[in-house]
Symmetry: C2
Subunit: 193 residues, 2 copies
């Protein structure tokens, strides 16, 4: 398990701005992982902004619903803000469900320095966790268009990383994200040429 | 006229991220001034993002209209993006009409490093210029809720700077903006302590 060593290396620096795009079901662990990764990055002096799904809906997309069109509009707005921050050297972490593949590919194209992380947990496990009590209400028919219950979730086909939050601890997952950022050249370690 | 000397001083550097908030009627010259100031700043290596009214409406506020509530929502979104960029060291220029005083004061409060520039031209002059052909249509009753014609514009009470675009050339105006940024400590010149 090489991850703890990576995390311990505080000589890691940022190569340029980038966007870490977390996608996954509600309750899959996106916000928890975003908190862990942003703490790791900040600890290395990397400027970080977390665009959390709920917060961004509040600030950029109040009034939008959960139709495919409205979801796509919401994701495009996150993508626009992520692009502005990324090209100014910020490490952006988007932690919105972003259930549709096509729009994720669109923002990937638009942003450039982009790493997609599939934050994976089975629907059964997300229902068991039910962190926000939303699945209970969705299953009771009280919330229409709820991803995984009454609305689709399209798994990424070839994300740069898959994090299985049913099998991994969050510290281990955060270390794997940092590791992959290094591999892709978004972060630099002292050993790099 | 000390401005040309200031502009010529390429040793000016950035002290921190800040937001330059341009407000004024449609056609008052906000976008023209934003282009001139952003060129000056970029020439000094300052990272700049211009949040132009039309572009931002397209990217963040499609579907919103021009009621006071929708205008306020649009301005809050620009303010949110400006805040994220500003706290990451970017010089942000907002060039939206932003006709209401209260919401301008709200984003000022939220952003912190903020300088309000009233880009001033009389309604008659804006109608004469009619850069986008919108006044003609608004005066013909084809565009409802058009600022200055059928919707209010609240002049700033104490902006950090007033630029009278009927009396000044754009190069002179840009120099005055840079000058004021220096005075307020958002930019630094080699003579600073």
């Amino acid at each position: 398990m090489p991850q703890p060593e990576l995390i311990a290396d505080d000589r890691i620096t940022q190569a340029h701005g980038f966007t870490l795009w977390f996608t996954g079901l509600s309750g899959s662990g996106k916000s928890t992982l975003a908190a862990a990764v942003s703490a790791e990055l900040r600890g290395r002096g990397v400027p970080v902004e977390v665009l959390d799904g709920d917060e961004v809906r509040q600030n950029l997309s109040k009034g939008l619903g959960f139709s495919r069109e409205d979801r796509d509009t919401n994701i495009r707005r996150i993508g626009y803000v992520a692009k502005l921050l990324t090209r100014n050297g910020v490490a952006v972490i988007s932690a919105a469900i972003s259930p549709y593949r096509a729009i994720r590919d669109e923002v990937r194209e638009d942003i450039g320095a982009f790493m997609e992380v599939y934050v994976k947990a089975s629907l059964d496990e997300c229902i068991r966790r039910d962190t926000k009590g939303l699945y209970r209400r969705a299953l009771a028919g009280e919330i229409p268009q709820f991803t995984g219950v009454s609305d689709p979730y399209e798994e990424p086909v070839s994300p740069e990383l898959v994090i299985d939050t049913e099998r991994e601890q969050v510290a281990e997952s955060a270390a794997r994200v940092i590791d992959r950022l290094l591999e892709l050249g978004h972060l630099r370690s002292p050993g790099d040429a």
